[in-house]
């Protein structure tokens, strides 16, 4: 706890500077058209940071930090990272970070430029980072950070957050994590990695089958299904404290979905003899039953305002996605294409649902408007694609795919572009769930 405190005060922004004229934060929304953000990628130049202090440590820092910044920005899907071989300027020869010859950058096609300087002193690192508009010849965002050497990752992410916030008006997903199921220990267990696949770590040790991880909206709780006691039970687990609950009724206890901003969740229980969705408290007590139709009902997903719940039902004969208005109780069917639509995931902006739809025995990811507009197919002819989950800003979708053989975790933009593998880990990985933004990270 004390350590944590020290870290927090160490990693401080010691300076923030912006050119007068660009004015208020968020004045740059026109850089990225949020209605079609991935149609045109913005060319951005990120030269290796200037080494302000001498020594190999600084050299390593400026290289790794500038590479990480380029990778992190590229991960968003908004940018085209320009090749450093084409650069006309070596930052090490620049006398001051404040003096930029913009023509050197516009002539190679860069519209944005990030420069940085790194300094290491007494095991402390100081980094100055600047975002420029090369055509308007303007400093858009400038920050100076100080922290421990091992905090350089955090510093780079903070600055990426600043860049994305300036350009889109949204804080992005740099403080988020992804939970998923991995079989690399031989059993299906829950793992968590950072949003970009970095630092995967095993969370459960059930030595049985574990499925369907689901984050609470504050990022503190994880709900999941596990066969730890021999049958599919529901586990609610606080990630930092030794708190939790088990729901172990007769039959299946599956598909948890926390209600946004409440210590409550929806889940599927079959103790009545039929799989139905119930509303439960965070301690595992039934509040009420939410579905009431013979046949399978499962996989709840909440609208961000918690007024509606999407779910899968077989009431029409095939599994389809439905939306229930919680206050009126009215249920309407959302999907009409295909014979098998499951795994709905409500977008953080509230206007769309992603889901897995089956055709020819294979699942693909689709996105449909809550008014039924679309659906748009996101994956095509590349194995089995399942379990979509949105990044907290709604710009990316994580999912599992068998396109390279065993099931792995992939990420794409919310428009289906830039599909890439998230992380390399032994065994199969399935059922990713993207966390909300973490407050204390």
């Amino acid at each position: 706890m004390k350590n944590c405190f020290i870290k927090t005060i160490c990693l401080i922004v010691i300076a923030s500077f912006m050119m007068v004229g660009t004015g208020i934060c968020g004045a740059g929304y026109d850089y990225i058209d949020i209605t079609h953000p991935f149609l045109r990628k913005i060319p951005i130049a990120i030269p290796v940071f200037k080494e302000i202090s001498p020594g190999d440590d600084t050299k390593r820092l400026s290289r790794t930090a500038s590479d990480l910044l380029a990778e992190t920005l590229e991960f968003t899907g908004y940018f085209k990272i320009l090749d450093r071989d084409a650069f006309l300027v070596d930052m090490q020869t620049v006398t001051s970070l404040a003096n930029v010859n913009f023509y050197n950058w516009t002539s190679i096609g860069a519209e944005l430029l990030v420069t940085g300087g790194g300094l290491i002193q007494d095991n402390q690192v100081e980094m100055e980072l600047r975002l420029y508009d090369t055509f308007k010849e303007k400093l858009l965002v400038g920050k100076r950070y100080k922290g421990l050497i091992k905090d350089q990752r955090k510093i780079v992410r903070r600055f990426c957050s600043e860049i994305i916030f300036f350009l889109t008006g949204d804080k992005g997903f740099f403080n988020s994590e992804i939970a998923f199921i991995s079989k690399n220990s031989g059993n299906k267990e829950i793992y968590i990695c950072e949003f970009d696949g970095y630092n995967p770590r095993q969370i459960t040790q059930t030595k049985s089958i574990t499925l369907s991880p689901a984050w609470s909206s504050d990022g503190e709780w994880l709900a999941y299904t596990s066969y730890a006691k021999g049958k599919p039970d529901l586990y609610l687990k606080h990630l930092k404290q030794k708190r939790g609950a088990v729901i172990s009724k007769k039959g299946i206890n599956i598909t948890p979905a926390w209600v946004p901003n409440q210590f409550a969740l929806a889940a599927t229980l079959s103790f009545s003899g039929d799989p139905e969705i119930y509303l439960l408290t965070g301690t595992g007590k039934i509040i009420k039953r939410l579905t009431n139709k013979r046949g399978i009902d499962l996989s709840p997903t909440w609208s961000p305002d918690a007024k509606h719940m999407g779910f899968v039902s077989k009431r029409s004969g095939t599994p389809q996605i439905y939306i229930k208005d919680i206050s009126s109780g009215e249920v309407k069917r959302l999907t009409f294409q295909g014979q098998y639509n499951t795994q709905p995931s409500w977008s953080p902006k509230g206007d769309k649902l992603a889901y897995a739809g089956m055709g020819n025995g294979r699942n693909d990811i689709f996105v449909i408007g809550i008014d039924g507009q679309g659906p748009i197919q996101m994956t095509h002819d590349q194995g089995d694609n399942e379990a979509p989950s949105w990044s907290p800003d709604g710009s990316l979708i994580v999912f599992s795919s068998t396109r390279e053989g065993p099931s792995r975790i992939y990420v794409m933009t919310a428009y289906g572009t830039d599909q890439r593998r998230l992380l390399v880990l032994k065994g199969e990985q399935t059922e990713p769930d993207w966390s909300p933004r973490m407050v204390n990270n």
């Binding site: 089958i209 499925l211 021999g230 299946i252 079959s270 499962l298 599994p319 025995g361 294979r362 379990a387």
Partner: protein
């Protein structure tokens, strides 16, 4: 007259008596050897009889053992059939096919003959659906089999259900042949 009668009577009695004596005497003479022979014969016969009886006993025991063994085998076979004969389903369906119903009737019979047994019905699915939905489908499949057995008179308390969804395929293949084997209801004994 009366005296004559007595004499005759005496003669009738005596002469055969003499005759008997004579023959007796003759026999006595022979008996030295034949008596031991007879004893041997008798012993042999007795031994033979005992042996035969023994053999018969062994034979009977063997028959009984064989019968028991056959019965045990038959029981084991019935038990194995109960455990190993899966019922199969169509894709995305928990409806019991005609073949499945025939198999379930046999299972009901076995459960009636083995009243101490409680069984678990596992519901399984092929890999094509999605994990979560398949957990529910496996649950429905196990429940269908349970309801059918209860209708045949098996107490519900003797039948547990568990769904494994698509998590425990018997055939890891990715083709219809494998999928058909994996869409199953499997029985275990608790």
């Amino acid at each position: 007259m009366r005296k004559n009668l007595l004499i005759h009577l005496a003669m009738v009695l005596v002469i055969p008596g003499l005759l008997f004596t004579v023959s007796c005497a003759k026999k006595t003479i022979r008996s030295e050897t034949s008596l031991t022979q007879q004893a041997e014969d008798e012993a042999a016969a007795k031994a033979a009889a005992e042996k035969a009886e023994q053999e018969e006993l062994v034979r009977q025991q063997a028959i009984e053992e064989l019968r028991l063994q056959e019965e045990a085998e038959r029981k084991a076979a019935a038990r194995n059939l109960f455990l190993n004969e899966d019922i199969f389903f169509e894709f995305d369906s928990s409806v019991l096919l005609a073949e499945a119903q025939v198999i379930l009737k046999k299972k009901a019979e076995w459960l009636i003959n083995n009243p101490d047994v409680t069984a678990t019905i596992e519901g399984h699915c092929d890999e094509r659906g999605t994990n979560e939905y398949n957990l529910a489908l496996g649950d429905r499949r196990a429940a269908s089999a349970k309801t059918f057995l209860m209708d045949l008179g098996i107490a519900g308390s003797r039948l547990n259900c568990i769904s494994y969804g698509e998590e425990r395929p018997v055939d890891p293949g990715h083709n219809e042949e494998a999928w058909a084997k994996n869409r199953r209801g499997h029985f275990t004994i608790n």
